[in-house]
């Protein structure tokens, strides 16, 4: 059994013991978060799975876990580590006694508080935030009732009907433009789409474009565009794009 490969499943860490030690030594894992008792438990469980007692493994584990405990203890009391190390054994015992006495006093003080609670617990009193300072009232300026009535009359009036005109998009029928373009083409062999619909609204332009597609589908017109966003030119089918192009509209 190899102690370093002991699998751990702790709150702060999951993986082999070896990795835990590495992370701790590199300060990438806070030892204070590590449950040392959990590691011991995992080891003991593993030991229990085997019939024979692996003394080597136990010895190695003992060394590692005690080193870990020492590190953790130092981590918990960083400023005291140096402090205590410099002390002679006699002084250290003295210091320890002093601290134990301090804790003992506090424990007794806690005992006193508990007794006090038992005897003083019979006292019930009112609790809550006390509005000690009277609230400052901001007085209202004197008002005339007629003014109030006037304001109320304004509020009571029927509100004007809100116009919803702007909300309705008016779509002219596609057929209107189909007829229009047919008429144009009867007069001329070609025309420029932008020039034809230029003065119209955006919605009308869109509908005009749909009319164009309609006419194209039925083969009544040919559509040409030299490049994206270039002017769209419409002609009767069969009329080739020649030098005869002239802008006669507009």
């Amino acid at each position: 059994m190899i102690v370093r490969e002991l699998e751990l499943d702790l709150d702060a860490f999951e993986g082999p013991f070896d990795l835990l030690l590495t992370l701790v030594l590199k300060d990438e894992l806070d030892l204070r978060e590590v449950d040392v008792a959990g590691i011991v438990l995992a080891f003991v469980e593993r030991l229990d799975e085997r019939d024979a007692l692996d003394l080597d493994a136990c010895g190695e584990f003992l060394v590692l876990i005690s080193a870990l405990l020492e590190l953790k203890a130092r981590g918990l009391f960083p400023e005291e580590a140096a402090e205590l190390a410099e002390l002679e054994p006699e002084e250290a015992a003295e210091e320890l006694a002093r601290r134990l006495a301090e804790y003992r006093r506090m424990k007794d003080a806690a005992g006193w508080l508990r007794e006090r609670l038992a005897t003083e617990g019979e006292r019930y009193f009112r609790l809550g935030p006390a509005p000690l300072a009277p609230k400052v009232e901001t007085p209202l300026a004197p008002q005339e009732p007629e003014k109030l009535a006037h304001v109320l009359r304004l509020l009571a009036a029927e509100p004007p009907v809100v116009s919803l005109v702007h909300m309705a998009l008016r779509f002219p029928p596609v057929s209107q433009f189909v007829e229009r373009f047919r008429a144009v083409l009867r007069r001329r062999s070609r025309f420029d789409f932008d020039q034809e619909v230029g003065p119209l609204s955006r919605v009308e332009q869109a509908v005009a474009f749909l009319a164009l597609l309609e006419l194209r589908r039925s083969g009544e017109i040919a559509i040409e565009q030299a490049a994206p966003f270039a002017p769209i030119r419409i002609s009767r089918p069969g009329v080739e794009r020649e030098g005869s192009w002239t802008v006669r509209s507009a």
Binding site: D108, L113, T119, A130
Partner: protein, 201 residues
């Protein structure tokens, strides 16, 4: 009591006492003499004298309401004989089920406060985080600035007036002296040496 001044038909001190009664019954926290004097629009000395009258009227055995000097001020509370009835009607969340850890932490903050969580942990030997959070929640201790000894020092805690009130203390100075309670360092040192000798033997 025999002072001729007090025989005046409308006894002004008696009137002041009635005013104080009114203030105390409205208040939900102890009122200091200064606060009472300001509210009653009278001077502190007369307020103290009037408080004597009120205290006499509201004392254990004479009244269901008792005037007490607590948490640095004066406050009305229930009489002890009414405790059972009060307990049936009200809970006392501030002091219910205080654990040993919480009481020890409370003792440390009360005696050594303001003090930080690391300082508490140092004395108790275990982390004080949950005990401190618990006491803050109950309103028995509160934050009191930071430790000045280091940059970004730990938050320090002190006990609140509610602590004094719950424990029936006029002020923290009413806590027993630490020397009066507990085993002294000498006794502990003797025991330590005893253990050490056993081990080396």
């Amino acid at each position: 009591m025999d002072s001729p001044l007090r025989l005046i038909a409308s006894n002004p001190l008696d009137q002041l006492a009635r005013t104080l009664e009114a203030l105390l019954v409205v208040a939900s926290a102890p009122l200091s003499v200064a606060e009472l004097a300001e509210a009653a629009d009278d001077d502190a000395e007369r307020v103290e004298a009037a408080l004597g009258l009120v205290r006499e009227r509201y004392s254990e055995g004479r009244s269901g309401i008792v005037l007490e000097h607590v948490a640095g001020g004066w406050a009305l509370r229930s009489s002890r004989e009414a405790a059972e009835a009060c307990a049936r009607l009200f809970e006392k969340p501030a002091q219910r089920n205080l654990s040993q850890a919480a009481l020890e932490t409370l003792a440390i903050v009360a005696y050594l406060g303001p003090c930080s969580r690391p300082a508490i942990a140092r004395i108790r030997g275990v982390s004080a985080d949950s005990a401190v959070a618990n006491l803050v929640e109950r309103g028995l201790i509160a934050e009191a600035g930071r430790d000045d000894s280091a940059v970004g020092g730990a938050i320090r805690y002190r006990t609140t007036p509610l602590f004094e009130r719950v424990f029936g203390l006029e002020s923290l100075s009413q806590l027993p002296r630490l020397d009066d309670i507990g085993e002294d360092a000498d006794a502990i040192r003797a025991r330590l040496h005893e253990v050490a000798e056993k081990r080396s033997a």
